[in-house]
Structures are given as structure tokens and as C-alpha cells.
């Protein structure tokens, strides 16, 4: 591993004001609260959790679409809050995004060649012929025929469109690609193709991924590190083989046990977590999971557990030693 991590977060937090009507003060929603992690060069960090846990907020902060409310975010060794316009432009180029729904993320009026080549056109310095050549080359790399460059997105299948989105993200040679649920809108057989493609391109370009997903089998397959979020806070963070094979946080355990598996016998009811995630506007005091957790004690209601190192990963749970 060389150089600083492509992405490093320290106590990252993001809050949003939520209106409660014209005569009341807006409430504060803690979308992310004290999250720390690092993505090394050319590696994959998967962010998992249920809807509303802050996964997508984390992606938006990392892509510099939004700014953190507190804490520090470093992209490629530079503070993402830097004011230097030239630095900001460099960082923006270093981070690219692939979105969930390839039917919504491609401009229907632009040709495939235009979509993939747009970043090159903006960054300038290339003739039209050179651009064209790079676009063709990139289309080939993602497994599409360069003949598609003159077509429009509606002529392509879902899998092909997601390949176009990946080509568009990779053409400025980013250090980090944020993939926000890149396979969840795709069919089973196409999902495997796209996961393979992401792995191949990582080998080839040395790009790092921030892989946001709720599909645990895919995460297990692609990730080097895993960050499990619950209501905006870190539940567990560490190497994916450790976290997914021997989870120490009750929430990680529940996530893993809830995912149906092929080798399941007839289903036994497994009530690992009661109920549903509480509203992030009114999280319970103390440990955010305590209202659903089977191990919760009086301590959990009073004191929010701080992240601590156990067994080679970071866990925020009072009872992580013995669950």
C-alpha cells in the first residue's frame, strides 16, 4: 500500500434541519454522528445498514456534494473542506460516483459517447479525435462495443446502462469510485456480471471503492473492509473477513442472520431484532440499538457506547466482549 488512504474520515458528522411546521423550531436530524474510517489505495470499503442509517449521506459527503457539519474528511491526503479552488477541482476529479438506478442516472438526450466523454471535454486538453479514441477504449474495457457510442440510453438494457455509468465514472481516472447500491436495481445474472466487472477494473486501474449496499452476499464478495452503520453511528468497523465471519456487534449479527441463505433448511423464526429502526429524528438515548437489542441492559439505556477496539475491529457495544 502506498501513500495516504484515498479517503479518511475522523469523527465525521452531518446534521440536517427538519421543518416541523411554520411556528416551531426545526428539529435536527443526525444523519451521521462521529463516524471514523479509512479507505486504502485500491481497496474496497463496504458501507452497510438499513435505510435511514446514513449510508447515502456518507456517499454524498465523500463525493463533496455536501459538506460535513463536524469532523474531518480527507480525500487523497487533503482536507475536503479546503478552500483552494484548484485543490477542490483536483479532489472532485479524484472521486467519481456510480448510482443505483441506471435508468435515472443517464441523460436520455445524450449519446453514450457524449455521456462517457463529457468529463474529458470539461477537463479539456484533448482533441475531438483523442477524446473519441479514449471513449472507445473505455467502452471496450467495461465490456461494451464502441459502436454503442452513437446510441442513446433507452436503446440499452439495464446491465449495459450500468456499464456506461461505470465507464463514465472511470474515464477521468479517479482514485475512488463511490458506488451507491450499484447492483440492487439489476437482475440476478446481470448483478454477477457487474460485480465481476468492478473487481476486474479495480485490478486494472487500482481504483478504490466505497461500496454502499444492503446486499450482504455481494459485500462479502467484494469488500476488504466493512463499516456497519446504525442510525448514523458506527456499529462495527473492520476487515470484512473478521466482521462478517465473527461479528461482535448484535446489530451486525442480526443483519447477517436475517439475510436469507441458499443452504437454509426450512425456515425457523429467528427474532434477533425486535421491531423496526426508530425514527432518526428521535433516536433512543444511550445506545441507539437498545430498543431492539436482545442483550440490552440498564447500562445501555444510560450511556451511549463508545467505539472501542476488540478482536481486530472497532465495535460500539457495551457487551461486545461476551455476546
Amino acid at each position: 500500500m502506498t501513500g495516504p488512504p484515498v479517503l479518511r474520515a475522523r469523527n465525521l458528522a452531518r446534521t440536517y434541519p427538519v421543518s416541523r411546521g411554520p411556528f416551531r423550531k426545526p428539529a435536527t436530524l443526525h444523519a451521521l454522528d462521529g463516524v471514523s474510517f479509512a479507505v486504502p489505495v485500491g481497496k474496497t470499503l463496504a458501507v452497510v445498514g438499513e435505510s435511514g442509517c446514513g449510508k447515502s449521506t456518507l456517499g454524498r459527503l465523500s463525493a463533496m456534494i455536501e459538506t460535513p457539519s463536524a469532523g474531518r474528511l480527507e480525500i487523497d491526503g487533503t482536507d475536503a473542506a479546503t478552500r483552494d479552488p484548484r485543490e477542490r477541482r483536483r479532489l472532485r476529479r479524484a472521486v467519481q460516483m456510480v448510482f443505483q438506478d441506471p435508468f435515472a442516472s443517464l441523460n436520455p438526450r445524450a449519446t453514450i459517447g457524449g455521456i462517457v466523454g463529457e468529463a474529458l471535454a470539461i477537463n479539456g486538453g484533448l482533441t475531438e479525435a483523442e477524446r473519441r479514441q479514449q471513449v472507445d477504449e473505455m467502452l471496450r474495457r467495461v465490456g461494451l462495443s464502441p459502436d454503442l457510442a452513437n446510441r442513446y440510453p433507452h436503446m440499452l438494457s439495464g446491465g449495459q446502462r450500468q456499464r456506461v455509468a461505470i465507464a463514465r465514472a472511470l474515464i477521468p481516472r479517479p482514485k475512488l469510485v463511490i458506488a451507491d447500491e450499484p447492483t440492487s436495481a439489476l437482475d440476478l445474472s446481470i448483478r454477477a456480471q457487474v460485480l465481476n466487472l468492478l473487481l476486474d477494473l479495480q485490478q486494472e486501474f487500482g481504483v478504490a471503492y466505497l461500496f454502499i449496499s444492503h446486499d450482504l452476499p455481494s459485500v462479502r464478495h467484494i469488500a476488504d473492509r466493512v463499516l456497519v452503520l446504525y442510525l448514523g453511528r458506527t456499529a462495527e468497523y473492520g476487515r470484512s473477513d473478521a466482521v462478517l465471519a465473527r461479528p461482535r456487534h448484535p446489530y451486525t449479527r442480526a443483519l447477517l442472520a436475517s439475510a436469507p441463505r441458499l443452504d437454509d433448511g426450512p425456515r425457523r423464526p429467528r427474532r434477533l431484532l425486535a421491531g423496526e429502526p426508530p425514527s432518526p429524528l428521535a433516536p433512543p438515548g444511550g445506545c441507539p440499538l437498545r430498543t431492539r437489542c436482545p442483550h440490552a441492559t440498564a447500562l445501555c439505556a444510560e450511556v451511549a457506547p463508545l467505539p472501542r477496539r476488540i478482536d481486530g475491529r472497532v465495535v460500539s457495544c457495551h457487551h461486545a466482549d461476551h455476546v
Partner: protein, 324 residues
């Protein structure tokens, strides 16, 4: 007598159009749990809608036989058929938010079904609605009756949908991707709930999903569909352990959980053919690594193989290799 007996169902939209679903047969016994698997566009939802009688113009249904509890569904008058829907035959859809009416309370929507199908009085309907909400695990059911769908989470809304479907104690419940829009911990709760209600009431359950792992844990028997046709059918355990159709095998092999570490997945090349690009012969042959000359020429029939049925000229031997 089976509860549901569908033979050679075919559905097309518009006269002279390619059928969307072709030669779909399903025999379901009372109290049976059967899974229907397939990718989007394979015809699984359309076949369920046809059983429910919810295919409108220009859809055209032809079937050799369509019987539910001894009654010929295609010969029933619309009024008789409507009285069956929601009473003996109920369905739960994928998106609970778009299936519930946003303008009415959930209490109204549950009692509406009871008013249409039972002779219960107002007060009895109300207490039955409370009982139903309790059965589907909704806390404080009395006060929830006055809630509107937007005031509940999608998991809770799906529980309400299930409560409505169960209101008249159906003999067959069709659940079409009931957990696809839900988070994984809530998905597990909803599946547990469906199975618990199924065991308690003895109704038959048809579970439609693209997620093979969901079927593995729930259904005793599975139908795998591809491009409008059932390609394999059999006991879930046997089909998943030793698939006979190359498509079933390729789908199972493409699952990340079957691969250790960062190995490449055994992805199936190409994509599902669209309705107007379904090839001659076997519709899977362009993607099949075993395809031979006969596969390009003739469309295979659904024939017995192993413990089930398979639609393939050259079915697998059950150990991942091609048969004799």
C-alpha cells in the same frame, strides 16, 4: 382435488402478439407453500395476475384449464369471480405504499374487505380488524386503526396489506415479491409472519420472488421461470442441490454467496431476451453453454427429470454435468 389447477396457461397482450407467458401449468394442493422464481420480465407476476383475474384489455388469456377449488375460473361470471377475490383468493403486492389507498385509514381499508365479503356488523368488523392487526404484529392495534398509510413505515404497511389479505381467511394467498422493497431485518420478520400465518390457518401460499435464497428457506416446491416459460419445477431442496436445467444451475452459480473471497463470479453471459427478441427453439439457447443443434431448432417440452420436471433437450445429470 387440488386447490388450484392451471394447465397450459398462455397470456398475450394484443391479438397476434407473442405470448408473454406460454404453457404455464401449476397444480397446488391445499396448504402447500410453493415458490416461483425468475428474473424481471420472465412472466411470474403476469401469471399470478391471470390467476387472480386481474388481466385487463388488451391482455388475452388462453388456458387448457383454470380451476380453483373445483370451480372453472374462466367460466365464472364477473360477479362470482369478484366474490372470490379477497375472500378465498388473496394477493399481497410488492410495494405496500402504492397498494394501499392514501386517502383512507388502514382501519377503513381492512373493514372494507370484511364488509364486502362477510355479513359482520360494524362493531364485529372493527374487533376483527383489531384482531387481524394483532396477528400481523402491529403494536397498539386499537389506535393504529385510525392511522393513514403515510404515518406508518413500509414494513408496517406491508403488515397491513397482509392483514387485509388474511381478513377473510383465504384458502390461497399469492405474495408477489412481498419483501423486495423492505430492509433485510424487516424482510426476515415479514417472511416469518407469512409462514406463521400459513401454518396456523393452513392456507396455501404462492411466493413469487427473484431471490432464490428467500425460496430456499420457505417453499417446499419451486418453479423456475425464464422468458415466459417454466423451465424447471421440483422439490426446492433437490432443485437447488442438483439443478437439471442449465439456467437454474447458472443462476445458482452466479450468487456471490457460492464464491469464497474475491474470486470472479460465474456470471451468465448476455441478458434475458426481450419479448420481441425471444429466439427460435429453446429461449435459453443463446446463453446456454451446453446448447446443441436441436436447441436452436425446436422448443423443448416440460418433461420429467429427477424428482421434478425440466424443459430442456439436454438436461443436466444432477451433478453439474450434462446428462447421457
Amino acid at each position: 382435488m387440488p386447490l388450484l389447477d392451471v394447465r397450459h396457461l398462455s397470456i398475450a397482450f394484443g391479438a397476434g402478439e407473442q405470448p408473454v407467458v406460454d404453457d404455464f401449468s401449476l397444480v397446488l394442493e391445499e396448504g402447500e407453500v410453493v415458490g416461483i422464481a425468475g428474473e424481471s420480465g420472465c412472466g411470474k407476476t403476469v401469471s399470478m395476475l391471470a390467476i387472480m383475474g386481474l388481466i385487463g384489455w388488451p391482455g388475452r388469456i388462453t388456458a387448457g384449464l383454470m380451476r380453483f377449488a373445483g370451480q372453472d375460473l374462466s367460466a365464472l361470471s364477473p360477479r362470482k369471480r369478484r366474490s372470490l377475490l379477497g375472500r378465498d383468493l388473496a394477493m399481497v403486492f410488492q410495494e405496500p405504499k402504492s397498494s394501499l389507498n392514501p386517502c383512507f385509514t388502514i382501519g377503513f381499508q381492512i373493514t372494507e374487505t370484511l364488509a364486502a365479503h362477510t355479513g359482520l356488523g360494524r362493531r364485529e368488523r372493527r374487533s376483527r380488524a383489531v384482531e387481524l392487526l394483532q396477528q400481523v404484529g402491529i403494536p397498539a392495534p386499537e389506535s393504529r386503526l385510525r392511522s393513514f398509510p403515510h404515518q406508518l413505515s413500509s414494513g408496517m404497511n406491508q403488515r397491513v396489506m397482509i392483514a387485509i389479505a388474511l381478513a377473510c381467511r383465504p384458502r390461497l394467498l399469492i405474495a408477489d415479491e412481498p419483501t423486495t422493497a423492505l430492509d433485510v431485518t424487516v424482510q426476515a420478520q415479514i417472511l416469518d409472519l407469512l409462514l406463521e400465518r400459513q401454518r396456523e390457518t393452513g392456507m396455501a401460499l404462492l411466493l413469487v420472488t427473484h431471490d432464490l435464497a428467500v425460496i430456499a428457506g420457505t417453499a417446499a416446491r419451486v418453479l423456475v421461470m425464464y422468458a415466459g416459460k417454466v423451465v424447471e419445477e421440483g422439490p426446492t431442496r433437490e432443485v437447488f442441490a442438483s439443478p437439471r436445467h442449465p439456467y437454474t444451475q447458472a443462476s445458482l452459480d452466479a450468487l456471490p454467496e457460492r464464491h469464497a473471497g474475491h474470486a470472479r463470479l460465474a456470471a451468465l453471459p448476455g441478458s434475458v431476451p426481450g419479448l420481441d427478441e425471444r429466439p427460435q427453439g429453446c429461449s435459453f439457447h443463446p446463453r446456454c453453454r451446453f446448447a446443441a443443434g436441436v436447441c436452436r431448432r425446436e422448443s423443448p417440452a416440460l418433461l420429467p427429470a429427477g424428482h421434478g420436471l425440466v424443459r430442456c433437450h439436454l438436461p443436466l445429470a444432477g451433478d453439474g454435468t450434462r446428462g447421457p
